[in-house]
């Protein structure tokens, strides 16, 4: 069953065309990784899906609903802030630089969306948040502020914050790039666990081995387009696209 369908997605930053017509489908329960050089449009693609960026053309259909815009052609309009917020809550996003709310504890970070967006009672939200902190192995750090946590711990809190909202789709944007090498493992293990449980994920990553081992399918983006895609094992073993071959060689794969 198709959960996410992106059709002909284009995005410009001023005169610069970042996405030049991206088509991508993600099935429910599927883990798809996106690899590619810096500037190839990977992060922008994720941010469009989460409606953090507007886009110029094409459509994004999430669970049967075209998101972000209403109407077509000259009548195409960006939805109102309220409606965008509602649609954003359908996807969860984890960022490269964690972006935890610095004034809230680990628990507070996970609870905010539950109480304010999902309108859960405080007790219920607290229980759910604690259970998610436990799942990422941080229930003993619930009362710590982000500044009192290591990078890996902060990123695991960010994962709990995104997942506790029970999103249909989870977007991970280079979530290990800002971590010290010895902390990468704990974060990737958390993601592996989620993958096993059938969480639908779209993962932008520079961790080639992780993409190969965890993602069902890998997408190679180049110059704002999907240059090659296929089952991860196959794509890494037998790349066809010349730029992908070059890219993988430089990544020592």
């Amino acid at each position: 069953m198709t959960l996410l369908a992106i059709r002909g997605l284009t995005k410009n930053f001023g005169p610069v065309e970042i996405l030049k017509g991206v088509d991508l489908e993600v099935n429910k329960g599927e883990v798809v990784s996106i690899i590619g050089a810096s500037g190839s449009g990977k992060t922008t693609l994720l941010r469009c899906v989460n409606l953090l960026e507007d886009f110029n053309g094409g459509e994004i259909v999430l669970d049967g609903v075209a998101i972000g815009y209403t109407g077509a052609g000259s009548a195409r309009r960006r939805l109102g802030e309220r409606e965008l917020a509602r649609q954003r809550a359908m996807t969860g996003m984890v960022f490269q630089s964690f972006n935890l709310f610095p004034h809230l504890t680990a628990l507070g970070n996970v609870m905010l969306g539950l109480t304010k967006v999902r309108h859960m009672a405080k007790r219920e939200a607290q229980q759910l948040a604690m259970s998610w902190l436990a799942r990422v192995g941080l229930d003993d750090r619930a009362t710590h502020l982000p500044s009192q946590l290591s990078g890996g711990q902060q990123q695991r809190v960010a994962i709990a914050r995104a997942l506790a909202m029970d999103p249909k789709l989870v977007l991970l944007d280079e979530i290990t790039s800002a971590l010290d090498p010895e902390l990468v493992g704990e974060v990737l293990n958390t993601i592996k666990l989620l993958a096993k449980e059938g969480t639908t994920m779209l993962i932008v990553t520079h961790e080639m081995r992780f993409a190969r081992d965890v993602a069902h399918r890998t997408i190679f983006m180049d110059g704002g387009l999907i240059a090659e895609q296929g089952p991860s094992a196959k794509l890494f073993r037998n790349p066809k696209n010349a730029r992908l071959k070059e890219f993988l060689k430089r990544a020592n794969m």
Partner: protein, 219 residues
């Protein structure tokens, strides 16, 4: 130096000084309260994508910041009634100091807002907070913490500016010192007392604000 200090007059009139000090504090408090509301509204108004509010705020801030406060006070007290707007003495002064405070606080809050990491705002949006919820639960708390040191300085500065109320005969501390000066000719005692009271009060406010900064540690 043939001057002999005689603090007896001060002692006899100390209740006037204290009254003046309390009045000054009350004026500052009222002006800061209104000024903070103005400052917050203006600072948040500049955050939007529409350019007009930003431009209006810019005009307000530079107009106020490039006019002496004394002139603003005199203008509002003497000129506004000519234009048909009548305010009481105290209201007139609080209004003057509030619009003056508003301009400076706008800049303080703007700096505080600029210090809220872009990514943290994205994260708030990503979990589905609306713009208002984002401002309330994410941006404001971080902004307040960013502003705290600058706010303290501004508040102290505004309290000292209440001394200008003396020019429109509001009986605050400076007015009381001047009155004692002219009535008793104990010039040095009167102004020394006023100075010490201003100094002590400002140091006290500063100490309180430092406590506040300690209670809310930097993130």
């Amino acid at each position: 130096m043939g001057y002999t200090f005689q603090f007896g007059v001060i002692e006899a009139n100390f209740d006037h000084f204290l009254y003046g000090l309390a009045l000054g504090l009350a004026l500052a408090f009222a002006a800061i309260l209104v000024g903070t509301l103005i400052g917050l509204a203006c600072a948040f108004a500049t955050m939007g994508k529409v350019p007009l509010p930003s431009r209006l705020v810019g005009i307000y801030v530079s107009a106020i910041r490039n006019t002496p406060l004394l002139v603003i006070i005199l203008f509002i007290y003497f000129a506004l009634p000519q234009l048909g707007i009548r305010l009481g003495k105290l209201e007139s002064f609080v209004f003057s100091l509030a619009i003056y405070a508003g301009a400076y606080l706008t800049e303080v809050f703007r700096a505080g807002l600029a210090g809220v990491p872009r990514g943290v705002i994205d994260a708030g949006r990503a979990i589905g907070l609306t713009g208002f919820q984002l401002a309330l639960y994410v941006i404001s708390p971080i902004m307040w913490r960013n502003c705290l040191p600058a706010l303290g300085t501004t508040f102290i500065s505004l309290f000292k500016d209440t001394s200008l109320a003396a020019v429109i005969a509001i009986p605050e501390l400076t007015y009381q010192a001047r009155k004692l000066n002219t009535e008793t000719f104990r010039v040095a005692e009167a102004w020394a007392t006023a100075s010490v009271l201003y100094l002590a009060t400002c140091l006290l406010i500063a100490a309180g604000l430092r406590q506040l900064e300690r209670r809310f540690p930097k993130f």
